[in-house]
Amino acid sequence: MSCKELVELVTEYLEGSLPPEERARFEEHLGICPGCVNYVEQIRATITTVGTIREEEIPPQTRDELLAAFRDWKPT
């Protein structure tokens, strides 16, 4: 497995969907290649970082309208 091939399998690797033999070859490559270790770690860091994105605040008018709709709907 070359580095160029490995980078295309990272998502399957992280999803746990690589067949056992391919997974073994993937990990064998990681054992000898600091560049690919760094690449996989960069992808993990990317996932973690994207996961920290909290959404922008929603426009107050939209929020007010939705809450007004809720009050209309609200069972009394």
Binding site: S2, C3, V7, T11, C33, I53, K74, P75
Partner: protein
Amino acid sequence: MAALRAGDEAAFAALVDRYQASLVRLARMYVRDQSVAEEVAQETWLAVLNGIGRFEGRSSFKTWLFRILTNRAKTRGAREARSVPFSSIGDPDEPAVDPDRFQDAGDRYPGGWREFPQPWEGDPEERLLAGEARALILDTIEQLPPNQRAVITLRDIEGFDADDVCNVLDVSDTNQRVLLHRARAKVRRALEQYLEAA
């Protein structure tokens, strides 16, 4: 859910704050402009209120919510004649990493890195986690093809698992993974450029 059914406004407000922006982003995959996407998201909340009595809890609330959104957005998109063919995943050979980063057939290690990617442990990663690149990430996600944008939003921002994404977007497991792979690779590339420029 019980709080919502009982008419607890704070519970509803919390859900709106939590999900509205993602609903709008996902709707943008099917409809042309931002204001229509916002309308679709608002209609989705009204559909939630009207349907809450029928929600049986067989799927998670989140999956149910986003399915309502995609159904409405598709209808709206079809009316606007701009539905995205979700089955198409684009160029099958689109590489995760620029091929120039790897050695050629005549080089010493064909397909090996010319220069290793740099580790991000320590300072770079801390800067990323502190939210320094937030605008860059949002911008990069915004520039992705719509179906990649939808998958990375649901998987990595919303924390859906793969099955839920397939369910909400009606894509096969394989396509879900390919789209996620490409989206993550592009965000990684943007972050790498950002960190190297700093």
